[in-house]
Symmetry: C2
Subunit: 212 residues, 2 copies
C-alpha cells in the first residue's frame, strides 16, 4: 500500500505549493515515482484524490471542535454559549493542526482560494458546521434569520483569507513580516465576534438607498 500513501503525500506537498488546478496528475506521479493509472485505480479521479487527502486529516480537527463545543455547552447548562467561546471552539483546533501540520493547512488555504471549498465543506464539514451554526444562533437571539445567514457567509469568507497567503493590496504596507498563523486566527476571531454582534442593519425591503 505504499503507492497510495506516496501519491497522497506527494499530492499534498505539491498542492500546498502550487494549488490544486496547477498541479497535474502527471507531475504528482512523476515525483512520487508511480504510474498514472495507479491514481485512478486507488482514487478514481483527481477530485476523489483531493477528497481523500482532506479526509485523512480533517477528521481529527472536526472531532476536536465537537469536543470543545460539547464541553462548553454542558458547562453552560442550557444557557447560550457566548459567541466568542463558540468561535474559539471552532477555530482553535485549526491552530493546533496548523502548527503540527502546516502542509495540510496550506492545502486548505489553496482550496479556499480556488473556490473548491463549498463542495468540500458540504462533504466533510456538514455535521460539524451545523452544530456550530446552532450554537451561534442561540448566542445571537436578536439577529434576524436572514442577517444571521449572511453573517455566516461573511464568516467563512473572512476565514478563507485568514488561511490564505495575504494579498498585498498596498505594496510595502507590511514589509515581509512573519505572520504567525495562530495570531492571525486570533485576530480573525475578534473580528468575527464583533461582526456577529453588530446591531442589525436596517431591514428596509427593497427601498431606495440613501446618498451619503
Amino acid at each position: 500500500m505504499a503507492t497510495k500513501d506516496k501519491i497522497l503525500d506527494t499530492a499534498e506537498r505539491l498542492i500546498a505549493n502550487q494549488g490544486f488546478a496547477a498541479t497535474s496528475l502527471r507531475q504528482i506521479i512523476g515525483e512520487a515515482g508511480v504510474n498514472l493509472a495507479a491514481v485512478h485505480y486507488h482514487f478514481g479521479s483527481k477530485e476523489e484524490l483531493l477528497d481523500q487527502l482532506i479526509l485523512r486529516k480533517i477528521t481529527s480537527v472536526n472531532e476536536q471542535r465537537i469536543a470543545r463545543l460539547d464541553a462548553l455547552e454542558s458547562e453552560a447548562d442550557g444557557r447560550p454559549v457566548p459567541v466568542d467561546r463558540v468561535l474559539a471552539a471552532f477555530f482553535e483546533p485549526m491552530i493546533e493542526t496548523g502548527s503540527r501540520n502546516p502542509q495540510f493547512v496550506k492545502v486548505m488555504a489553496r482550496l479556499q482560494g480556488e473556490g473548491l471549498i463549498p463542495s468540500i465543506m458540504q462533504k466533510h464539514f456538514r455535521s460539524t458546521i451545523s452544530r456550530f451554526v446552532r450554537a451561534l444562533r442561540l448566542a445571537l437571539p436578536d439577529v434576524s434569520q436572514e442577517e444571521f445567514f449572511w453573517r455566516l457567509q461573511f464568516m467563512f469568507g473572512a476565514m478563507s483569507r485568514a488561511v490564505s497567503d495575504p494579498v498585498d493590496f498596498v505594496p510595502g504596507m507590511l514589509k515581509d513580516e512573519r505572520h504567525e498563523f495562530s495570531s492571525v486566527i486570533r485576530r480573525l476571531m475578534v473580528f468575527l465576534a464583533a461582526g456577529f454582534q453588530a446591531p442589525a442593519s436596517m431591514e428596509m425591503p427593497q427601498e431606495q438607498e440613501v446618498q451619503a
Copy 2:
C-alpha cells in the same frame, strides 16, 4: 470589430452562468459564431480575454468610488472620515452596477469563487484600493498596523461571499428566499464596520494559547 464584442458578450454570459474554468474557449466561439483563432488574435489568451471583459465595466465603478470618497474627504476637511462612510463609498457603487448590470456582477462573483480575484484586483483595483485603505487607516488610529492589515484581508474575504452564491451550510436554513443584492451589501457593510472597529486582539507575540 463586431467579432471582438461578440466574443466579449458571449464570454460574459457564459462565465456568469458557469464560471471561468468551466467555460471553454470552444464553447464561447461556438455560441458567438466566430473562429477559435479569433480569440487569440484579439486577446492573446483566455486570461487576457477575462481581463478585458472586466476592464470594460469596472472602470466606471472605480470612478464612482473615488468620486464618493473625494466628496467625503473634502467634506470632512482634514478630519478622518468615519469607517462606515468609507465603506459605503466603496460598496454602494457596486450596488448600482449590480442592478444595472447583473451579468457582470455575477462574473465578478464567479471569479471570487474561483480564486482569480487577487491577481485581477492587483491589476484593476490597485489605485482605487490604496485610496480607500488610506482613508480606513485614518479612521482607525487605535488599531495596530498588523491588525489593520489582517482586517483588510478579512474584509475582502467577506466581500467575496457577499457577491457569490450563498452556501447552504445548513440545508433548509433559508428556504429559497430572494437575496436582494443591495440588502446583502448593506448587511456586509454593517458587519465590516463592526469588525474593523472591534477592540484589538491581545497582541501576545508567539505565546502559548490559552485553553478555553
